[in-house]
């Protein structure tokens, strides 16, 4: 797998090594590198052994990926926005086992959609909540969970121009499930 530096290069984006994150505006010292380090730390105070908390992991991954599409592959936007759409719009109680099924469905979907792009919202206009805000509430797990949920909801809303597109993906996925 290519790392994010290679993917940024492939997407024609120069990564800045200092200051706030150039994509989401997180208050970092070392730009996106630090933003990713915070993301990779995983916000450990949330007990991810409890299946009831798995949704927070999905929210973290989806929100961060959709705030940083330039360092991911093009179809990741479809996947992560569809997942949030299924959770927020269809109230699907998402599990790890759903993800490969959505990915399989997306693989079938994209065969006929070679021209379909989900254009990201402008840089630094991808939601007010960022990794550094989530990190800042480390002393309070309840507050952190609430903020993670808000983060995901806010990012999902900001990608609203593409909700109708991912609704087609979501409906097809649901049909394939039931």
């Amino acid at each position: 797998m290519q790392d994010y530096i290679d993917l940024a290069k492939k997407n024609g984006v120069m990564l800045l090594d200092d200051g706030p994150c150039q994509f989401c505006g997180a208050h970092t010292q070392r730009g996106v590198h630090e933003c990713l380090e915070i993301f990779n730390v995983g916000f450990q105070d949330i007990d991810f052994s409890n299946p009831e908390n798995h949704k927070y992991r999905f929210f973290i991954v989806d929100a961060h990926t959709l705030q940083h599409p330039e360092i991911h592959g093009r179809w990741n936007n479809h996947f992560h926005l569809s997942r949030l759409h299924l959770i927020f719009n269809y109230q699907i109680n998402w599990t790890y086992a759903h993800s490969p099924r959505l990915s399989d469905h997306l693989n079938r979907y994209k065969k006929d959609k070679s021209d379909e792009y989900l254009t990201p919202p402008p840089l630094l206009h991808r939601g007010h909540i960022t990794t550094t805000d989530i990190l800042a509430v480390s002393d309070n797990t309840t507050k952190r969970k609430a903020l993670v949920t808000q983060w995901a909801q806010e990012v999902y809303d900001i990608w609203g121009a593409h909700h109708s597109t991912v609704d087609v993906v979501a409906q097809g996925f649901l049909k394939s499930l039931y």
Partner: protein
Amino acid sequence: MIKSNIIAQGKSYILPLEGLIISGIDLQHFLGIELKTENSNNPIIVIDIFANFTLNRFNQSKVLDPNNIETAKIILDLIELKIKKAECSNTGDLYITLDDNTEITIPDSNFESWIIKTIRQERIKNSWVIGGVGSTTFFDPN
């Protein structure tokens, strides 16, 4: 603590799974490969696989679907084999080599491809390492 034994090596991490033995499979989610120590009967680790993965065995390479019962049958053949090396990249790929040189490669994906969990009493599982979405994330397993 198991996490502290992870060794960073360039863009990879050596996972402290060497010497653990494949003891069974868990089909609770997709496909879980259970690992135990030599002196125990109970699994202490499970590797949950969610993405298609590659098995290199006897000079043959197969791509396996973790959601297919035929895959579970193939993995059953690996029971009692010992892990020689377990390594993951920082971009979400997992590489496992067994003592008969069988290789299991679980690639990164646009979703969480694999999760290594520690098994506590009464089969309560704690996520330890998660690979996928271009990254590998380590958690405190305790």
